[in-house]
């Protein structure tokens, strides 16, 4: 199970409480609001692995 797809973080509400921190992730141009609660180190431009609207991992850039 676990359809998880990687997309680019394009914006964040920079909420001080991680519980409410969300941002838009772009999947080849398709935007979806995603919770950033589990990826506190995520920066704009990072590739995030997203499952049911929650980012689970900041992906390392391909070498």
């Amino acid at each position: 199970m676990c359809l998880a797809v990687a997309g680019e973080l394009v914006s964040s509400n920079h909420h001080p409480d991680p519980l409410w921190r969300v941002g838009d992730v772009s999947f080849a141009g398709v935007l979806r609001q995603v919770s950033l609660a589990c990826v506190p180190t995520a920066q704009i431009g990072d590739q995030l692995l997203v499952h049911v609207g929650v980012a689970l991992k900041v992906m390392e850039p391909e070498r």
Partner: protein, 343 residues
């Protein structure tokens, strides 16, 4: 075919197997034997030129979506159906079922759209009907449109004309309409700049005919996408179809949205794309014409062999997908409407 609770489900309109069964098992048998009744346009035999006749109902939600609206859809949808027989439209009818409470301004915009679409094609709405139903009994507006056209070529363009070895071509990239509507509905929170591919197929079809392409079959891709259309054609034409996964053009955004939601791009809806089946030798000619309208038009497969035995594996799963690794996998039509999944 009986659903466990004996009621119509959304899936019966989803373009998948449930809809096919509803039509072939419940509707068609009661209507008397009609040749080609399941093809897009029916031919009416007259002493003069051959007439083509098609009807369609439009229930899209929301009424206005990126790239189009129900009015333009009602015109193009029915004209496209005629075009799938290679017919030029002569006239349209328009029936409106309006839900009580719809803003008049909204209706006006829809009718404007109908008018513009007609003008662009050079066809008129010559008759129609209007009904109003109580609030709650309709999604704002339902439209039925019927089109009459004339066939001015000698070809028999229908699934029965497909031949083993024929090229299977799509006229452009798939799934844009499905994605546009999904994102306009907002229930899944996806926002996409992709507009519907809603478009009129009349010109490309006329050009294919003028260029001398021996069209065997045309089918506009609507609900159920390429999956549904290729399945229908294969079954009607009693030939297998092999589609090559890698050659099927899909916009990266459509692919991405499908990955996120667990949907199949091949089953996503289109409203301005068609399957063209023609002799393999004319593939390049056909693509030259089609690529002027949509650069992503591409050959996606080949017609396989005709089957004799209706209970054979070929007859049960006539369409197969060749994976990127070259493995031939039978395509099984989805139950009904596609539903997003996590699993």
């Amino acid at each position: 075919m009986q659903p466990p609770d004996g009621r119509i489900q959304m899936g019966h309109g989803g373009g998948g197997r449930l809809m096919r069964e509803l039509i072939t098992e419940l509707v068609v048998p009661k209507l008397g034997h009609q040749k080609n009744v399941l093809h897009d346009a029916a031919l009416v035999y007259t002493p003069g030129p051959q007439l083509a006749f098609s009807t369609d109902s439009y229930v899209v939600r929301p009424l206005f979506f990126p790239g189009g609206d129900i009015g333009r859809l009602a015109v193009y949808g029915s004209v496209n159906d005629l075009a799938m027989a290679g017919a030029r439209p002569l006239a349209l009818s328009l029936s409106l079922i309006i839900e009580e409470g719809l803003e008049i301004d909204c209706l006006a915009r829809v009718i404007d759209s109908v008018g513009e679409a007609c003008q662009g094609i050079g066809v008129g709405v010559i008759t129609g009907d209007t009904k109003v139903v109580e609030q709650g009994k309709g999604d704002g507006l339902f439209i039925n449109s019927t089109a009459i056209g004339v066939v001015e070529h000698p070809l028999n363009i229908s699934p029965s004309a497909i031949r083993p070895g024929d090229a299977v071509i799509v006229s452009g990239d798939l799934g844009r309409h499905g994605l546009a509507v999904l994102s306009a509905r907002a229930e899944l929170g996806l926002r996409s700049p992709i507009e519907s591919d809603l478009g009129c197929l009349l010109e490309p079809v006329m050009e294919l005919l003028a260029a001398g392409v021996e069209l065997h079959c045309l089918r506009d891709l609507t609900r159920g996408g390429l999956a549904s259309a290729s399945d229908e054609i294969a079954r009607s034409g009693q030939c297998t179809l092999q589609l090559e996964q890698q050659r099927i053009p899909v916009h990266p955004s459509v692919n991405a949205a499908c990955e996120v939601l667990g949907l199949d791009p091949l089953a996503m809806a289109n409203e301005g794309r068609m399957l063209v089946i023609c002799p393999a030798e004319q593939e390049d000619l056909a693509l030259t014409v089609l690529q002027r309208y949509q650069p992503e038009a591409a050959r996606v497969g080949t017609v396989g062999q005709r089957w004799a035995d209706g209970s054979s594996l070929d007859a049960r799963y006539p369409v197969s997908l060749i994976s990127e690794l070259g493995v031939n996998c039978p395509m099984v039509l989805a139950e009904g409407e596609q539903i997003p999944r996590i699993c």
